[in-house]
């Protein structure tokens, strides 16, 4: 533990604080992580920008048409700024980025930022709902599996959880549509309504895609929780709590949960990348007007700026979430909290 201004040990009589305080070491760690985050961000922008160089052929020709005369092609090229050196192109793109300008869509002729902002709420609704479902479901089931380890409940949940991991989430979506939109007409199959327009309808539209998306993440969380809580239940301090007279249930839902929550919380954070990725295809299945369908459409239409924009935005989200998870881990760790 690093040096702190406050005295430590049994002699630190009146200096004890009642709220947690970050040690210098923790702050330094967070600072380093932040620096790293910035570096990762810059590198990510570089990679996203270089996606454009993957395009086979000359983009100017692609736009102008195969039989256009060289003059037109050259004009288009200079219009798009493609005649500048690569580094300059990158830096100017990056500059635009930092001011919120991601370029214009080749198809829609509208700023990419606008398109993304427009599609964002739908994707956010589904991603957040899916995460909530995954966490609640996964953690609950994981804890039960840990409590009944080795017994039937545990084996059953392990099988179910494995099923969650091996099924393609878009296929699950299709099956859900089959069961709950056609066989039992409970929910609409496709489409989306804004929350502000009609909350109930909004819920009806997002529930199936959220479930489809939540399955894989929830299954992973279930495994992690089960493993972590199982391990905690073998600890000596659990034995002490039981010797005090606390029931198994109480020990599980207070002590085990508190001690086990930390690794689980960090897993949640790191699952974000997978969740965002998985949502792309699921959106397509349910025809949700979110970033995922926009990405797919832009791939088909070869609308590069839009594609780059979406990849960048989602990656930045993941980078930030990862950073916050790192910070949360540091803050939650009681050994680091108090001096």
């Amino acid at each position: 533990m690093t040096a702190t201004p406050t005295a430590t040990g049994p002699q630190a009589a009146g200096k004890r604080r009642t709220h947690p305080k970050l040690t210098l070491g923790a702050l330094r760690f967070i600072g380093l992580r932040f620096g790293r985050m910035v570096l990762v961000f810059v590198m990510a922008t570089l990679l996203v920008f270089s996606l454009a160089s993957l395009v086979p052929g000359d983009p100017a020709i692609a736009l102008a048409g195969e039989d256009a005369d060289p003059a037109t092609v050259a004009l288009i090229r200079s219009e798009l700024g493609l005649d500048r050196p690569w580094a300059v192109q990158y830096l100017s793109w990056l500059g635009g980025l930092l001011t919120g300008d991601l370029g214009d869509s080749l198809i829609y002729r509208a700023p990419v930022t606008e398109l993304i902002a427009d599609r964002f709420p739908a994707s956010l609704s589904i991603a957040v709902s899916a995460m909530i479902l995954a966490v609640v479901g996964g953690v609950l089931v994981g804890m039960l599996a840990a409590a009944f380890r080795g017994r039937i409940a545990d084996r059953v949940t392990t099988v179910l959880s494995t099923l969650g991991i091996v099924t393609p989430n878009f296929w699950v979506g299709m099956i859900l549509i089959l069961l709950f939109s056609f066989a039992i007409p409970l929910f609409p199959a496709v489409g989306y309504t804004d929350f502000t327009d009609d909350p109930v309808d909004w819920l009806a539209h997002i529930i199936l895609p959220a479930i489809a998306l939540a399955l894989a993440v929830g299954a992973e969380l279930q495994r992690q929780t089960r493993s972590s809580v199982s391990d905690i239940l073998t600890q000596d301090y659990i034995r002490t709590a039981r010797a005090q007279g606390l029931s198994r249930g109480r020990v599980l839902w207070t002590r085990a949960l508190k001690n086990g929550s930390m690794p689980v919380v960090t897993v949640i954070g790191y699952q974000m990348a997978g969740l965002l990725g998985g949502s792309v295809v699921v959106e397509k299945v349910f025809n949700i007007p979110g970033l995922g369908t926009l990405a797919i459409d832009s791939v088909v239409a070869k609308d590069l700026p839009v594609l780059q924009g979406i990849v960048l935005v989602t990656t930045v989200i993941v980078i930030i979430v990862n950073f916050l998870t790192d910070v949360l881990y540091t803050v939650l760790n009681p050994k680091v909290r108090v001096s």
Partner: protein
């Protein structure tokens, strides 16, 4: 002569391994009177901890575990008691302190809160009152600056201090019986004496009955009134400490006493018992100590029973008095 507060008779705990039922505790009989301290002695693997855990209801009640025999606390049957009732007794009427103080406290909760939780559970008082009582308990176990320290996390305490906290936790609800399972083994020698003294003081102040589980005969001589010696899952001798130490009735007890290093008296070579104690899969049919006993005879191949030999003593050795005559002057 008051009635015993705890009576254990022929307790047997079996664990199922690879289809076989192995008796980890097998024929344990002893009793504890109010205010009395019983030393439960034996080597590692003798089953002493398991027998205590069985009484508390932590062993013997799951799949792959079973128990038989009798154990009653204040007349109530412990072995047949429901989990709910056991929960009401634990930390309340019967408390237990374990061996590893470093890992026995929850790292995520403040120490005062952990003690107070047990108080609230059994005494039903308010949070503030429970905390006040928790601090009082910490005072009783001589933790300096209890009020402030109650607000600290376990990792801020040394090993000895943590054990004090655990003892505070155990006595917080004024139990009638305290089971201490090797409470000093994991501590530094200098701290060991402190904790032992503390336990003795608690016992005297609160009138606690105590079962002190240890492998150290010296400790038994120090603070125990009676002693029960365990070997290979069985009690092989019980009796009052002074009497038993002066005149052990079982060869194993005699060997244990002989192997105690002595600081005073004439210098002699350190004695030990050759061989190692058997595991439950390898228990002999007859006397389980016979393979290592210098006094073993054919009769020792017969199954043994723990016989009361009068004067509050019991002995399992089939060759009872005979073997003593063989011991060289």
């Amino acid at each position: 002569m008051t009635d015993p507060i705890l009576e254990v008779e022929d307790l047997r705990t079996e664990i199922q391994i690879d289809g076989r039922w192995l008796p980890v505790v097998d024929g344990v009989t002893y009793s504890v009177r109010p205010g009395e301290t019983l030393g439960l002695v034996g080597e590692s693997g003798s089953g002493k901890s398991v027998s205590a855990m069985t009484l508390m209801g932590f062993v013997g009640r799951r799949r792959g575990q079973r128990l038989s025999g009798h154990a009653s606390f204040r007349g109530q049957d412990l072995l047949g008691m429901s989990e709910r009732d056991l929960g009401k007794m634990r930390g309340n009427d019967i408390a237990m302190v374990f061996q590893e103080p470093m890992t026995s406290l929850d790292p995520s909760f403040k120490v005062g809160n952990q003690i107070a939780e047990g108080i609230r559970l059994h005494q039903g008082v308010s949070r503030d009152e429970a905390m006040r009582l928790a601090i009082e308990a910490m005072d009783k176990v001589r933790i300096p600056n209890a009020k402030v320290r109650a607000d600290s996390y376990p990792h801020e305490f040394s090993g000895g201090m943590r054990q004090r906290v655990l003892i505070a936790m155990a006595i917080a609800n004024n139990p009638a019986l305290l089971i201490a399972d090797e409470p000093t083994t994991a501590l530094d020698v200098s701290v060991q004496a402190q904790i032992l003294t503390l336990l003795a003081e608690m016992r005297d102040e609160l009138g606690l009955a105590m079962i002190f589980i240890t492998h150290n005969m010296g400790v038994v001589a120090d603070i125990c009134d009676r002693v029960a010696v365990m070997y290979a899952g069985q009690i092989i001798e019980t009796g009052e400490v002074r009497e038993t130490f002066a005149d052990p009735q079982h060869p194993y007890t005699e060997r244990l006493l002989a192997s105690m290093p002595r600081l005073r008296g004439e210098r002699r070579q350190l004695e030990w018992i050759p061989g190692t104690p058997p595991g439950p899969a390898g228990f002999a049919e007859g006397c389980r100590f016979a393979p290592r006993c210098t006094h073993a005879r054919d009769v020792c191949l017969e199954p043994t029973t723990l016989l009361e030999i009068g004067g509050g003593r019991a002995n399992r050795c089939t060759r009872d008095v005979e073997w003593k005559e063989e011991v060289a002057g």
